[in-house]
């Protein structure tokens, strides 16, 4: 069995980020943080942001989850540094639309490039939540309420 049809979803870059997520660590002194929970499948991430002078200077996460949610967290934390909170929030909204539809007219080109490997997820309705979980946590962290977020 080759599962070649699954290569849309599990591109090599996803498998790689899923196995070896970047920025998979705690921040010592995050300015913002939030948890994201997908109660039905048990996925859980904790996101840390360091925001200095209106820009995200560092982003990292820990947690457990499937290849999709871990890769999504990895790619997201790679994309965030340098962005303002408002830009991050816009990207988050755009990404969620992207995950559901596979297209993202509103995404800026650079972010797009990093995130395209996740385009395939829209064909797997039950997996969309996996991909969006880190982004839901991002919004919660930016809201600054530090509370638990759920992608259910």
């Amino acid at each position: 069995m080759s599962f070649s049809e699954l290569r849309d979803l599990y591109q090599d870059i996803i498998l790689d980020h899923g196995r070896k997520p970047r920025n998979f660590r705690r921040l010592d002194a995050p300015t913002h943080r939030a948890r994201g929970d997908n109660p039905l499948c048990g996925d859980r991430i904790e996101l840390f942001l360091d925001i200095q002078r209106e820009h995200i200077v560092d982003a990292a996460f820990i947690g457990r989850g499937c290849a999709i949610s871990v890769a999504s967290g990895s790619l997201m934390t790679e994309t965030l540094p340098g962005k303002t909170p408002a830009q991050a929030r816009a990207l988050s909204d755009a990404f969620r639309a992207f995950a559901m539809t596979g297209i993202c007219p509103a995404c800026d080109a650079e972010a797009m490039e990093r995130l395209t490997p996740l385009a395939g997820v829209h064909e797997f309705p039950s997996r969309v939540k996996c991909a969006t979980l880190p982004w839901v946590a991002l919004n919660a962290a930016l809201d600054g309420q530090g509370q638990e977020a759920s992608s259910e």
Binding site: R44, C66, R127
Partner: protein, 413 residues
Amino acid sequence: MDGAAPSFDIARIRADFPILASEHRGKQLVFLDSGASAQKPRQVIDAMVDCMRSAYANVHRGAYHLSEAATAAFEASREATARFLNAPSALDIIFTSNSTMAMNLVAHSFGRGVLKPGQAVVASEMEHHANLVPWQMLRDAHGTELRICRITDAGELDLGHLAELLADGRVGLVAVTHMSNVLGTVTPAAQIARMAHEAGAKVLFDGSQAAVHRRVDVQALDADFYCFTGHKLYGPTGIGVLYARAELQRAMPPFLGGGDMIATVGLHHSTWAEPPAKFEAGTPPIIEAIGLHAAINYVEAIGMGAIEAHERALVDHAMATLSRVDGLTIHGRAQDRGGVFAFGLDTAHAHDVATLLDRAGIAVRSGRHCAEPLHERLGAEGGTCRASFGLYTTTTEIDYLAETLVSARKFFA
């Protein structure tokens, strides 16, 4: 007991289930999620269609022929359900909307109405949320205590711990599963009932899984409450069953208010109908009761003994076959177990495995299967995959599952 295998013609049985002939994602469907909800044989579908095409009317209140006939058919379903569980009388059978509702009914009517604050309810570590959350809510609303019985590492109920929990005589109800929807464990219900009764407690069995796989005899088990749900027994959604011992039903106040559950209604005061009507407010699941009756007839015609034998063969086969898959952990090694296998693969998350299996045409569930505390207990907080069998499951399907798991493991390695 019915005889076993001879009457069990798997090809003929599979032909009864239209959906099993279908393809999904270009592959032949291998449906291994019957534990979540089973597929429906044409006998069930046809019975529901016939009801809607030629015999439908509301029940209990009509003096015209159609309504009389519908009432008779509805009550015949209650009789059949009573026979299915070997309940002493059809009056002991309450129709609900599902198992969850059955347990909530007990939590409200018996819990708030009969149990006293300070009394305790015992559930176990391996309960489905439906047999745990209602007792938490009862505790918070009514002041009963909630005690949790441990399970052993093999996934069996720890009867020694149960004895400890019962020792102070303050337990009013032991509410445990008759078969785990994750581990497959079949619990020693008759023994649990004996222990509970000796300690002065009543006992409820969540038979949502067990009633599908084994012959259940509520009298032999000496159950006070027993519930199951139509959609897992090859019947429709929208209907569940609560067996409740007659004298308990009499002692319990009603739960839901409305039509059919009353004797007299005044603007300010009402009196209640006799059980079981007292617990069935509003228009009941009529078409669903007809479907459930057909489902019961269907499994009875095959024979619960034959179904159990078939399943034992599947379980043995699955245990042997899946044990040979490298990197696979099977959760639950109870002596007495049914056809439910929760497992994990070392190289991949349960969700990713389920997606791969789906692409191979295999439907399994991934997640925590409404048993989050049990997954903590198993050290599988991130969830498991679960393959669960129906009477239409074949050893070939299990072999195909095992092969595909081997490929999946490589895919993610």
